[in-house]
């Protein structure tokens, strides 16, 4: 057993322990804070599995933004005195046995995997040069399986429309009340004056580097969203009204650019979402740049939640 493998065993044990804590923690607040740690640990596991792109996404979205959304909800539900029914012990045992069976089944699948794993890595590697990109994961996302990526952007927008439509009639088109667990303190304000310039730089770098190294539009966009959210949380910047035209434009510019390039593929290349090989890299970079912006704005607004008050005149 090598040292690396020993570390991985510890990591796996820690991950399971932390996940158990998230489930059994007494208060929602504790559970969410532990979930944040869980996201970061999981990111390390992704690095151990040689999936650095996924690690970045998991740390940014799985651990980071999801936890902010949950914390916001916990702070809104904090005051509610509603009774929570208790669950009987036999019911817990039955559920536990059932879940253990599911886990055992999945473990059996992992145990009996064929020795020679099916893989598309050689195919992806062969066609990598044609895409003009150096990062195979980015090539899969933007070239080989671009439909997925385009539809996923649409899912993000649909989720945002869903969240907005939960606003009360009187607040429609108004300003989201970005609720955070703690009220802004001087430390938060200080951090928010220091962090955003660095964060914005890292976000843009991550999108730029994503063409040839791990990184990309999602990860970069999430960091931009985090920076914007920080400044709004510290009240250094107002939360915009959802009916602002510039905001709506930023939301759709990425998916629209992607769709436009995709449709242009009918005329200048063979099919939908195909790029002419000579200019494929510049095209992908332009699409990724607009997507980074749109993803950042969409994620930040998903966190901010439905509008709750009308903009002050």
């Amino acid at each position: 057993m090598t040292l690396v493998f020993a570390c991985e065993v510890v990591l796996a044990g820690l991950l399971v322990a932390i996940a158990t804590w998230t489930i059994v923690a007494r208060t929602a607040f504790a559970a969410i804070v532990v979930f944040m740690v869980y996201g970061l640990l999981l990111a390390i596991v992704w690095v151990a599995l040689s999936a650095v792109d996924v690690a970045l996404t998991e740390a940014a979205i799985g651990g980071g933004v999801t936890s902010i959304v949950l914390l916001g909800a916990a702070s809104r539900l904090r005051g509610s005195k509603a009774a929570v029914p208790s669950v009987s012990f036999p019911f817990k045992i039955t559920a536990g046995v059932l879940c253990a069976v599911v886990s055992a089944g999945l473990a059996a699948v992992v145990f009996s995997l064929p020795d020679v794993a099916p893989t598309l890595a050689p195919v992806a590697k062969e066609n990598l040069a044609e895409s003009g990109l150096g990062n195979p994961v980015a090539a899969v996302l933007f070239v080989f399986r671009a439909h997925d990526t385009l539809l996923e952007k649409v899912v993000l927008l649909l989720a945002l429309v869903g969240v907005w439509s939960l606003a009360s009639d009187s607040a429609w088109g108004g300003v989201p009340a970005l609720r955070v667990y703690a009220s802004p303190s001087r430390i938060l304000v200080f951090l928010d004056q220091i962090l955003p310039p660095i964060g914005i730089m890292i976000g843009i770098y991550m999108f730029w580097a994503g063409a040839s190294q791990p990184g990309g539009a999602f990860q970069g966009g999430t960091i931009l969203a985090a920076m914007w959210l920080l400044t709004m949380m510290a009240r250094l910047q107002d939360v915009p009204s959802i009916s602002a035209r510039w905001l709506r434009l930023l939301l759709v510019v990425g998916p629209m650019a992607f769709l436009a390039v995709g449709l242009a593929g009918f005329f200048f290349a063979d099919s939908f979402l195909a790029y002419p090989p000579s200019i494929s890299k510049p095209l992908i970079i332009v699409v990724e740049a607009t997507l980074t912006l749109s993803i950042g704005v969409t994620l930040a607004l998903l966190v901010a939640g439905p509008p709750e008050r009308l903009p002050q005149q």
């Binding site: 489930i23 559970a31 599995l49 999936a51 208790s86 559920a95 886990s103 890595a121 080989f144």
Partner: protein
């Protein structure tokens, strides 16, 4: 056992844990958290298949990796939407759990099977 198999078993356990939380925690917020744990377990299994598919000088098969990245973003979208639904539910009814609309059923509130 190699590291891919190790994290494969880890993913299997996470799926079970998440499922357990989903079934036994009555509060919707805790169900959402548990669902995220369940989802991350499934993603981890994908990661294991990707790692096992390492070939042609790549550390892992890029196709499942890209699918997981898409999956994480979609899981986040679903979480944000369902959290907004929960907050609205709480605002309308003051509840943090989902109760039955049936008046006969809601009389039995407070005891789960």
């Amino acid at each position: 056992m190699n590291s891919a198999a190790l994290f494969g078993y880890c993913g299997a356990v996470l799926v079970g844990l998440g499922l357990y939380g989903l079934i036994t925690r009555p509060e919707v917020l805790r169900k959402i958290l548990a669902f995220n744990v369940l989802g991350s377990g499934v993603f981890l299994l994908f990661g294991v298949f990707a790692r096992r598919g390492a070939a042609a000088g790549l550390g892992a098969d890029p196709v499942p990796q890209a699918l997981v990245i898409t999956g994480i973003v979609v899981a986040f979208s679903a979480t944000a939407l369902v959290v907004a639904l929960l907050v609205r539910l709480n605002k309308e009814t003051g509840q943090v759990i989902i109760t039955s609309d049936d008046p006969e059923e809601s009389g039995k509130q407070g005891v789960l099977p």
